[in-house]
Symmetry: C2
Subunit: 501 residues, 2 copies
Amino acid sequence: MSEHSCPKRGFFAWPQGVRKVYQPGVRHPELKVPFREVTLSSEKGVVRLYDVTGPYGDPDGSCDMSRGIPRVRPEGGEGQLASARRGVLTPEMEFVAIREGFDPEFVRQEVAEGRAIIPANIRHRELEPMAIGRAFLVKINANIGNSAMSSGIEEELEKMLWSIRWGADTVMDLSTGKNIHEIRERIIRRCPVPLGTVPIYEALERAGGRVENLSWEIYRDVLVDQCEQGVDYFTVHAGVLRDFIPAAKARLTGIVSRGGSIMAKWMSLHREENFLYTHFREICQILKEYDAAFSLGDGLRPGSTHDANDAAQFGELKVLGELTKIAWSFDVQVMIEGPGHVPLQKVKENMDRQIEWCHGAPFYTLGPLPIDVGAGYDHITSAIGAALIGSLGTAMLCYVTPKEHLALPEKQDVKDGILAHKISALVADLAKGHPMAVAWNDAMSKARFEFRWEDQYRLSLDPDLCRRYREAALPKDPSSSRCCTMCGPDFCAMKITQEIV
Amino acid sequence: MSEHSCPKRGFFAWPQGVRKVYQPGVRHPELKVPFREVTLSSEKGVVRLYDVTGPYGDPDGSCDMSRGIPRVRPEGGEGQLASARRGVLTPEMEFVAIREGFDPEFVRQEVAEGRAIIPANIRHRELEPMAIGRAFLVKINANIGNSAMSSGIEEELEKMLWSIRWGADTVMDLSTGKNIHEIRERIIRRCPVPLGTVPIYEALERAGGRVENLSWEIYRDVLVDQCEQGVDYFTVHAGVLRDFIPAAKARLTGIVSRGGSIMAKWMSLHREENFLYTHFREICQILKEYDAAFSLGDGLRPGSTHDANDAAQFGELKVLGELTKIAWSFDVQVMIEGPGHVPLQKVKENMDRQIEWCHGAPFYTLGPLPIDVGAGYDHITSAIGAALIGSLGTAMLCYVTPKEHLALPEKQDVKDGILAHKISALVADLAKGHPMAVAWNDAMSKARFEFRWEDQYRLSLDPDLCRRYREAALPKDPSSSRCCTMCGPDFCAMKITQEIV
């Protein structure tokens, strides 16, 4: 992709009345904190929305796709957790404070206590800092990455851009096919959001695809290489212990985490404890050097509602809590991955135990999917569970696409998965009363009641789609500007309400 | 539409391994209670799913579209509530008992106590009885109907068929445009599920579209005509009282129920109390004659999360509780309509108050939509709120389509809206532990773990879509039968799990 095919042109074109703006820092005036600013019609003011599109969303932003995007963070630095604990307010902390409308000191405290993380590898200088924590806006992650059976570098890069176009707060590269290293390098140098990986995938590739040949040494080398590239957080399945395997094998659907199943098989072949557990302190030492964060993996998450909240799952969660304390002793930031498939009545127990056992570290959940029969529509299944667990305190939601359980997602699936989980995140934000979510919602409702259609489009998640839906159905008649075809002009309740004296 | 264009052909073709079966009654051996039976491969048995497709889903069923479908219920009868209270087990009660796997006596008790209704107008003899109640499977309703700006008779009939094709348990005809009476007649004679209406719409049409000309007499005549046609339940906005109008007018989004706004305007013009309230006993008398049920309308439901749970909404809900007692005194069955837009943390209060104030009568909710900015994707927004309130006890969910707030839905929107809310209903069923939901879910998970792809398709909500998703991505290689392109053969966690010794 050359500069001439910069995806910015057209790809990130906002509708009229929407633009990218920046706010400088106070302590760090060099900061350029981005917002998507919606100017409402009829002098109704502006609404500032959270924006993750980096230079791609800015008509004046540089996005030379042949070399990567500009570096916006200074070199080096001590690491967020260590700084926060010493009372130091880093540029990253001020950045996220402005971004979410919080006091910077509050951000520092949340980071210091481990309740929020700012995943930001010192080598990922293209990153716009963001926070993952219960007190912050709920974030969403989009998975990209190829498998042995499909997809190449350009497609995955395109998916990354597409993901942030629709609002992914972080991206995980889960490639397990060819060219894992090259795909990642291309992505990180062009990625304004934190990038996560699961290093065991590349380790397995280096071990020739044979689980029995995996070793701590191979894994360690992969981890260092990925840290050097600038990966911001790592899924590490260090809580899958030998003791839990019999319980997991006895389940209806066994182990459904790729990393979890790899480690379980390795332990079973070698009759040894999980090397990610036995070498955990060395892993901490490596991550600390780069200020990379842990995403402690739930290798034993349930893959069916039948298996939810069982001994294997909760046994692992307790271990993740112990590992959290160890990571914190190295000043390494931690979030905890969560299930999976969980019926709705068992969701709260997951959240409560995670907060208690993992000492308040942020929770990062896949779904949960509260039924198992939603194939083809599992972005919706997942969005339901995600909204509930988000409102209970989960800090980041991993998207699920309509192709889950069936195939690797394509572009449209990525978009559908992201938007479904953006909705879940907003549901949670509003339930928790985040002022940015309240302001956004009320602005939309007011525009709706006042029939300001252009403002409704601008404030929606997908302005072009909303305009198309309404206008395709509408006759070319000026009287219809006060209604839509759902009810027509005579049966519009809001119009009738306004006629009541 | 002639017999030759019977929609059954192709339209309702099940995949191989899926067929319509019937079970006879014990007390009423003439009953033919339908199921969709999925025969699993490898002699793994059968799973019986709830089915609403009537004769259209049966290759041997008659569906002469020029005349209507066969009448399956006997003429006349006393009415469900009166019978249940006298200890009489009607054919309809046994039908729904078999359909959901319950003891018939339990069904009778739920109906007698008003906790469940079996909407079944004695004139709608094409109906396959179904129950709406907290102890039963959560049902979903699909709205069809034209507006002044779009859609004709054939399109609406097609939407009804399409709705039951995808699993709508009831259909509401909300037509406000031309030919309201004719559209309804055509639909009822071809409709195997309960049909609901909002009679004030036709009354307003008869009043020349002028709210000031509406009167009790016009409304009464409409109601009798619709009862004669066989409408099974009626939305009646009898709880919108004059006292509540100031509070509703002061809201961010006023009144968003069409019926609610019409009655509010009428009261304001005439300076009189709502005639649906003042003539409520006469309405009960009419409904009793036909065993038609009330769906007491929430004319003051909030149209924005900002307005949720306010004095206007809860004031009306209390009145609906009083009206419920009156309807019950006439042996008329009642369900209660609910919001609207409600942020997630306020959903439970809606359910709790409804149960308390409305004496356990079934709740029938629109959404609730827990955010306001989801336009274009509001089927997902609504599915989130619906799943939560369903798991808390709501008996029926009104679907919302992706076009909500923007335009009248088309066929694809109807399908998307139904499937999203089918998922919500299943989430609730599983959370409440309904044995049919548990069996279905576990069968799917087992098929998934055993790589029985055909069984997964058959058990899914949309078999053709699932097959297409997986097979389009798959290389033509026999080794791939054990996996999908999401992970490929080497990274399939379930495959690896099965290799662990």
